[in-house]
């Protein structure tokens, strides 16, 4: 639009040249990004649906409540109860070991450490997070299994090493979100640092801390590589609950069943996958719900 002389030029609200092209580009970008989002959801849906379909022949109440029974042909005519129990024990032990340490690390970096040390620790945690889980498994194998034997403890420790940086980084973010005005209020009352952390900061951040822990659990629940080296050869087919022995677990069982010659075992592998997916899905949903609740709390 040419600039014209003072009074006479009318104001034009209609679109100028190029507007139609700009509108078209805008619509194209919208369509492309919507498609991408749809693709992500579709992939998730595809995975879930195919697992459900393939697991259908084998999934049943009996499947999750009976221990494996090997028929004379080598197929499993029982269920995977011992693997489910074993996985729960491994994840519970790993979480009990990693979460308190992770929260303490987070408290140290946000409340007590200087900026440089805090950044260093965050960097170290990010590096630890990036270590391939098979390397972690090999590491624990070299330290705990070589010269001794496989055990649930070794598996749990390997999982804990993987879970630690996840929970710690998430806890750091959550603790940093607690407004410093609350810490100042505590200091101004003459309270000691530890009291402030324990009674004011942690309770305020509790929702987010739990969310981070649940996400950590969800992540390690399906880890296979570390368990491959540490708790993959099971001595018996019955229920094992002692971590000093190798504990049967879902990921290794899926692996074993999928390698078997019997097609019924393959269906069981899918069914076991379904159980694992449902477990992780459930944890993620719980984590989201807790996250929403804690966000509402802090915003007040």
């Amino acid at each position: 639009m040419e600039g014209s002389a003072i009074a006479a030029a009318p104001r034009v609200l209609a679109a100028g040249p190029g507007a139609r092209r700009r509108r078209a580009v805008n619509r194209l970008m919208e369509a492309v990004s919507t498609l991408a989002a749809g693709l992500a959801v579709a992939v998730l849906g595809l995975v879930v649906v195919s697992v459900v379909v393939k697991a259908a022949p084998a999934i049943s109440f009996r499947f999750i409540t009976t221990n494996p029974q090997i028929s004379p042909f080598g197929a499993n005519t029982g269920g995977i109860a011992n693997s489910i129990v074993g996985s729960l024990i491994l994840v519970a032990l790993a979480t009990a070991m990693s979460v308190p340490v992770a929260v303490l690390i987070a408290i140290y970096t946000t409340e007590f450490a200087g900026g440089r040390i805090g950044a260093l620790i965050r960097f170290a945690l990010d590096l630890l997070n990036g270590v391939p889980t098979i390397v972690t498994g090999l590491f624990v194998f070299g330290i705990l299994v070589l010269g001794a034997r496989q055990s649930g403890w070794a598996g749990a420790i390997a999982l804990a090493i993987i879970e630690l940086p996840i929970v710690a980084r998430s806890a750091q973010e959550v603790l940093a979100l607690v407004p410093s005005s609350l810490r100042e209020a505590g200091l101004a009352l003459g309270l000691r640092r530890w009291r402030i952390v324990l009674r004011i900061v942690l309770p305020t951040a509790l929702g987010g801390l739990i969310t981070g822990s649940v996400l950590g659990v969800a992540r390690v629940a399906g880890e296979t590589a570390p368990l491959l080296f540490t708790t993959s050869t099971f001595s018996n087919l019955g229920l094992t609950t002692s971590p000093s022995q190798a504990l049967p677990n879902i990921p290794i069982t899926i692996f074993g069943l999928s390698e078997s010659a019997a097609p019924s075992d393959h269906a069981q592998a899918w069914a076991a996958s379904l159980v694992l997916i449902l477990f992780v899905l459930l944890l993620s949903v719980v984590a989201r719900a807790l996250h929403e609740r804690s966000r509402r709390r802090i915003r007040e």
């Binding site: 900026g115 005005s181 100042e184 101004a188 003459g190 309270l191 009674r199 004011i200 305020t204 802090i298």
Partner: protein, 276 residues
């Protein structure tokens, strides 16, 4: 009076409530001697000498960046919590230097309380627990705890409004109520001095008025220092006023004098609105 039918002009608070608090034998003075404060290399407070008289309200006024908040944060040793910050000089509470290395900093802060600009009740605690927080986390229990919480809530005029819901979350109160809750929390630990850093700037005029009236009562028990950017507020509540500029104390005197016939030309230019 229920909280739904609060009159536009609040009723005067009950003077009797403040007298229920234990009466100190003598008031407490705070003296700053050659106080200097630094944020890293930045020299924020440059050699301040001032005495805050016992049982008086002293207002510190000045433009943004003059160092008003930094000065009060030096009094209760909150300034040193900032990484890289340091203080030189002395702050004498009744003649004792709070910066003496033998002094326990948490004890200093128990004797010199602080109310902040934005009300900051602890969100995970109830009204009762908020007021009790300074006491509980220092060991007070049971009946004595309840009594001190009651007295503090009465002293700030909150008792009538919240006595039926002491278990409700502290953050469920209105802004003005939250600030009075924070004041109750501060006086529950029975300090000698109360520092207020722009306590009303986040509040509406009605809530502000209530807190100003509260200050008039609180000074019977405590020595009060209030930082404010609102000169009318200083004129209303303060016995003496100090004017700060660029980290230095320009003038300190009786409030009416500062606002009508100040000695220093810079003070006059500030209070007449020529700058700042």
């Amino acid at each position: 009076m229920s909280s739904t039918e609060r009159p536009l002009r609040p009723e005067p608070s009950r003077p009797a409530a403040i007298r229920e608090l234990p009466r100190p034998a003598v008031g407490h003075s705070v003296e700053l001697r050659d106080l200097n404060a630094y944020y890293g290399q930045r020299h924020a407070i440059k050699g301040i000498d001032i005495t805050f008289a016992p049982n008086e309200v002293t207002a510190i006024i000045g433009p943004s960046g003059s160092g008003k908040s930094t000065v009060v944060r030096c009094i209760n040793r909150m300034h040193e919590e900032v990484p890289g910050a340091r203080v030189e000089g002395s702050v004498l509470l009744d003649g004792e230097d709070v910066y003496d290395p033998r002094v326990d900093v948490t004890q200093v802060r128990r004797l010199i309380g602080m109310v902040f600009q934005k009300p900051n009740p602890f969100p995970t605690m109830s009204i009762f627990d908020n007021v009790a927080s300074g006491l509980k986390l220092a060991g007070t229990r049971g009946a004595e705890l309840r009594e001190r919480v009651d007295r503090s809530l009465r002293a700030v005029g909150l008792w009538d409004e919240v006595s039926d819901r002491l278990g409700a979350p502290g953050v469920s109160l209105s802004g003005g109520q939250q600030q009075r809750l924070c004041i109750a929390r501060t006086i529950a630990v029975e300090p000698e001095v109360i520092l207020m850093d722009e306590p009303c700037s986040a509040l509406d005029p009605v809530a502000t008025l209530r807190i100003e009236e509260l200050m008039a009562e609180l000074k019977q028990r405590y020595t009060i220092v209030i930082v404010t950017h609102n000169m009318q507020q200083a004129a209303r509540v303060a016995d003496t006023t100090a004017f700060m500029l660029d980290g230095q104390l320009v003038e300190h005197g009786e409030t009416t004098k500062i606002f009508t016939t100040p000695d220093d030309e810079r003070t006059e230019r500030y209070v007449t609105g020529k700058f700042g």
